[in-house]
Symmetry: D2
């Protein structure tokens, strides 16, 4: 709290009440409290932001002490004060023109507060640096940590998927194209499709993690000119200085930079998150349809206390799925912003990325975090309604016998297109009958038709219709393979 | 504050410290403190959100009391308690499963807190309503108020533009196409171009304001069925009930709705803001170039204490312009989100808009608010550097005499394309000379050329080159007309 | 055809075969043949592009003849040759470096071909102009004509909507929120929602048409400097020169321009089309769901010869709806391109809009054209399946009695939230029963419950359940009002 | 040509003239003739599309002949007729309702034409298949081939970059941040930044190529049900059948599919191309600025015949750079479309991707093709103007001595922030002097200041200012390393 410095004469409790009131009377982002995990919110907090910058300043001082430019006492003092900088005071020195230590610049505000709190090491903070030496690498570290958190959650979704696939790999369900009943498939095979996509998302995420680099410690335009001079005659090169700092931070530097880390990494990060969000959206959109009153085959898990709607207590709303879709759209459009920011850096740097990135970078991580939490809970708690599945298979699956009939007559030498036309006519008649409430008459329409009698006995026709529910090819085998493939990949840490 | 209800045994000061700490350890949006005006942040605060909902609940109760369903005492009680609902407690009852009054639903949480605070009127709150009866209209009112605030700021930018145009309407400057010196224009004429665009933006904003409608009071699927029943035999129709409430709120209802107000209005709102942002971006991008070291003709106003960069104290960064561009990109991509949300409502409603709209709607208003504040300050405080303007005119403007030469020889009967080719050759030679440090030799190259001698005397050629700085057509007149047009439109309130 | 000029010794038939082959061996856009009407494709053809430019050149010459700079014979000659310029030769002179008249510039290529075909007027073409004098106004005219075509089609969709609303205004159907059965509405009321949106789209379109302006005739940087000089001592001002030309073209000029017409108009045009596409998408997405095997209430009209799928002859695919959604997505993302192009004009002009606009502008019009054709055919030919509608109402509509029950007990003094909880419990039990194949037991669960017995007799409960299908409030009245409102607006030409 | 089948009585020459006229009177995409290479246009031609489908049908028949279902004669007949299908007739049978063989379906139209041309093999075409068996794999093959072409061009750009970096690695130029002169860097170091980004783009492209999969041969909903039945008792499994076909095609199949190949691959493809376009945009935007009249340090190569502008012959427009930026924006927004299409597949498939993909997939490849051609030509032919570079260094580079001064006084024990403030004051004074036409007085201002005299002798100050042009740290070394790294990566085929 900015108690001491504000000098307003407020007591602590007055100040606290004022701050709480302010928080009620200003816009508050849903990503501050509503979406995302506590861990992810912590990564993107002001506390962690300044803690990380301070850590970098300490490592820079440490490297410079190894070059003899800074004393061990100074490093130790900085090290002792690097945690818990007064972040409200930093904000105040940046933005509050009434603050006597106002700087109008976030970097200088941070340096100034750190310096005040570390009287011995303070004077050597930030030597040779431009603001983006600490800031860029802080952002790099936050991205790295966040990607790690995303990976953990994505792996959990995949593990849950593998189990769900295995459990339902032989559960025959209607397959749908254009939202029309098509041919049967199995639920596990369908789930394996999302699993396959999530696995590809994981591969891209890992690829990004392997290739992600920080700015390093390269000064104002990336040439390390200031460090080259600062380190002159110390026997330490700018490159070695950079290496020491970055090794300590655990972040590999790029070879070449402008003033900041390459903005292409921001783009790649958002693109990677948006890829995951894409699979999640696809999954959620399908859940919403299958959970609809019209399909009714599955449902999201629902906590006991959950309420459908204030006016319609009976509703079973796919609230997680709709929420996932909503958040995912934000990730999709954030790709565009990140693209623009990376596509127009303006020589050694422009500031066009700055204001935007302050929200879209953290919020992209918080959104994917929330999305994965919800996908995980759906995939692990999915309710399945076998009665509805059977009803849909019976009403619509019957039609898919036409494909087997088509195959069978073709094997007997029929012309494919002629047969197709005949089946089309009978199907239309059957649909009409069903619409008027009758039972699906398709089997007898075909069995009694002299065209088909040329190629197939009534008995054969009957057999084909009977077997329609097992007309699922190798869906089960392939679903099982995918579950195994997922588990195999998950056991591989790289 | 949730002091009483939280039941944690914390003292108020302990609680306050905890809350402050939480705010440091969670993500905090730049739109909570950094961008946008206090007024705009207040509109989109939790406080105003619930105050507005409460106001709607009161008006609904009042209308129902006029139908005899609610007593005047109940209305009075609600009216007395409608301001200052405990918003932290509402959040808690929605989201905190340990709260004994947990609802898991924001609407029910709000009702529950309002009810607790108004013991007499409480039981009649929300009668006949679905959550979106208060919520949709609250959002409509917030949008309406925000558009009003945007209008005020846009009008200020336009007024500032008119003055700036007038002041510089006859200041001859180099005109640039493809960032190449082209022909002279005037600074006021250029500013009039942004002014013309902002004026069009204002017309669209006003058009939206005239056409904006709220949901009205229509229940779960827009049919007013619940109100029709509730009001049965009271002599008041659902339509009259709606009219009373909406008249009191000052928001006209749509004729037809689903569960919510038409999402097309969200799209139109964002599109209108993004249009303004587009003009601002164009203006800011041009300022950045003209302020660059290479052009140097103008500069954003700069406060005394402003700092260029921590490592390079001499820099004169176009920080407002870059910030405007950054925020504007967010508005541009928000159009896409709003488009998607309006394009897939899913019959009487889906929830895909919900999570997204919680941030992109307020933040779009806060972003445009910040953008307009900065544009306003630039346009009113723009510094102009006449020396640099003259240097650019001299170096590059000379070339634009070629166009007058072209006109002159054509008037004398020369073939346009032949003359064009000749001028092209001389221009290339002149550019080469300049690149090697010599003075621009273009005039003598043309004056001494026998081809041109057919049509123009040396004297005439000299006159044309001399007049090049006044080669600005009707730029001044038109700029003045635009300044007047802006003022005329601003004086028209509609 | 480029027969004469190509000088390759090909016979005409050889050349024709070559051209046809080339068209098979290069990429061919679906917008050349597949999507959009013939009229819209004609507007955006090379033929019409050059015809329109030629028309502008003629009007410029005519205005200049009125100023005495050009002879009537020259104007007449240009007028006689303005139609049917050899567009393949223009392309060749722009792009084919082996063409002896190669220019490398589309404007010069057009001028050169026009000049060759009009030996008397040729030399005076394009006097005082920059390429964007003809080009910008040509684009303005194409946009204007295209918007007119869009308006015609949108009005047809609205007229069809009004009829469809009237026809189904009292057809009770299940209303759905979150794809869960909610409360009944009427089909006409639902259609009125799309109609209301399309009406708003029409209002925006008309607003754009009223505000659309062309560049006018203002030269290289918008100052009319070249025309001011050209017209010196003729007694005609540059402004009057512009007015004569633009009046003849039927396009009002902007007051201020850079080299081109303001790119904001491109943005507004695309935004207006994307708005229409948004309503169409929403409509199509709903049709797809309601046509799905799970809902089955309606279907797109289908031509006799239409085929569902090559493998599954029985399918009734919502092909028009899916096509509409697909094309609409392109319009949505084109907003972003147009935004970028308008947001970065780069002082008096940059060329960043050029390559992109060559495809996204025509294709946006062709896409909306196709979309409106398909929406029109669906809305006018929509098949309705009353049996499926009844089935859905029976299965799910029963639940909506809970809202009436809630209203009724509240009127009798029950606490809203308590009652809500009770109904929630019973609804869950009923859903469970239905899932296991039983009949919806909700009515008896409530009728037999002592809590509800406090407020309602069994008889009353029975009455409420019986009336559930008429629980549609004022849906019919409002739907009829919307149909009338649409017709009223359509009868208004402005 | 559709000569025989059209039956209109037209002679060939009449028909040819009609077709040519049609091509002039309909919209023609700039990607048909203007942008992209001939090779890329050929890949996405109708000719190649149907040739590829035919190739797949042949391989399916061949696999089925190995299972004994088809005779070798039938395979041979198909093989003999697979090239040169009459693509105009296919279009006609799909779309022209007056064609007696009209199908209304592109798949059936293709089958029908292939069948007519191969009387022996015709009847066995497409056995067991759904349309997406050939179509999806055709698209997969076109993507694969196109990615190969992109890779070749990207490698050329990288090779050209490595040379350009080497050539200019020690050419000191002004570095710019916020378009303000910052500190010197080298041109090669700057070019190395784009090179580094292009290298990352190549790595992502290769990663995609390694992970790209086709649909395989899996029938209507991905279960291979139809093939399982067709191959019953033949001893060949559906999986083996798929393997034979896909091996012959050279495209690895996914394990799991819906009706089509996973749309995530479309997204990844577009994203990969948009990544390259992003680097190209950044490069082009920087070229445009550096080529501007205000900066003037470099220029795009220009062919002799190139023309600046029709009215302003002297212009040196960055037409390639502006064109690159324009095309790149289209790729950026195509990411959004591809995202939407992949995010909403609708269970086993929806058709929402279809109409859109017909244009955005080919055009994305054609756009990146054009972009890379132009980047390649710029990077290899970039003109450099040493005089302008020196002028900018002299005017602005002087300021960057302040950073060295700052370092030097800090090394002597000065407080960093105090020194920063002093330098800031002197810089402002110097800027003022320059603006009024004087020489940069910064050196003497500092040398004469008693504050700095505490730490530095005048001599030292003079030395620092003298060395400013070599204040480039390790830019040269790192640039050289990047050139080597690029060459090393290029020599690695994987």
């Amino acid at each position: 709290m900015a108690t001491e410095t504000s000098g307003t004469g407020e007591t602590e409790i007055e100040q606290a009440r004022r701050i709480i009131q302010e928080h009620q009377e200003q816009y508050s982002s849903p990503f501050s409290t509503r979406y995302g995990s506590k861990e992810m919110r912590r990564i993107w907090s002001r506390r962690n932001y300044w803690d990380t910058n301070a850590r970098i300043w300490v490592e820079i001082a440490r490297a410079q002490s190894q070059a003899g430019l800074v004393t061990p006492e100074q490093v130790a003092d900085l090290d002792n004060h690097k945690r818990g900088l007064d972040v409200d005071e930093i904000d105040s020195r940046e933005m509050d023109r009434t603050n006597p230590k106002y700087t109008g610049h976030d970097g200088l505000a941070g340096i100034s507060v750190f310096k005040d709190s570390a009287p011995i090491g303070g004077p050597v903070i930030h030597r040779g640096c431009t603001t983006e030496d600490p800031f860029s690498n802080t952002e790099g570290l936050l991205i790295k940590d966040s990607l790690g958190l995303v990976e953990v959650k994505l792996r959990s979704v995949l593990a849950g998927s593998a189990d769900a696939i295995d459990k339902t790999k032989d559960l025959v369900v209607m397959g749908w194209t254009h939202l029309q009943g098509a041919e049967p498939t199995t639920m596990g095979y369908r789930l394996a499709r999302y699993g396959q996509d999530f696995l590809l998302d994981l591969m891209y995420l890992k690829f990004l993690q392997r290739n992600l680099r920080g700015k390093g410690i390269k000064g104002a335009v990336g040439t390390s000119a200031s460090f080259t001079e600062l380190l002159e005659k110390t026997g330490m090169s700018a490159e070695e200085h950079e290496k020491r700092v970055m090794d300590a931070l655990g972040l590999e530097p790029v070879l070449i930079s402008g003033q900041t880390y390459p903005r292409k990494f921001t783009f790649l990060t958002i693109a990677s998150l948006a890829m995951i969000a894409q699979t999640a959206y696809n999954f959620a959109a399908d859940v919403k349809i299958l959970q609809s009153s019209g399909f009714g085959e599955i449902a999201e898990p629902r906590a006991k206390k959950d309420i459908g709607s204030s006016a319609m207590p009976f509703k079973r709303n796919p609230r997680h799925s709709e929420n996932i879709k909503s958040l995912a759209r934000g990730l999709a459009t954030n790709i565009m912003r990140a693209w623009m920011d990376a596509a127009e850096v303006t020589l050694e740097r422009g500031l066009e990325d700055s204001a935007g990135k302050r929200s879209y970078l953290p919020e992209s991580f918080l959104a994917i975090d929330e999305i994965l939490i919800r996908v995980d809970s759906i995939i692990r708690g999915l309710e399945v309604f076998p009665e509805a599945i059977k009803r849909n298979l019976k009403n619509l699956g019957t039609f898919s016998a036409t494909e087997s009939i088509l195959m069978a007559v073709c094997r007997q030498g029929a012309d494919r297109q002629d047969a197709h036309q005949q089946l089309d006519d009978h199907s239309k008649a059957a649909l009409k009958a069903i619409a008027s409430g009758k039972e699906n008459p398709l089997e007898s329409l075909i069995a009694d038709d002299s065209y088909f009698a040329q190629y197939l006995s009534k008995e054969k026709v009957g057999k084909i219709f009977a077997s329609v529910l097992s007309h699922i090819g190798d869906a089960e085998t392939r679903a099982a393979k995918m579950a195994n493939l997922i588990r195999e990949r998950l056991s591989n840490p790289a």
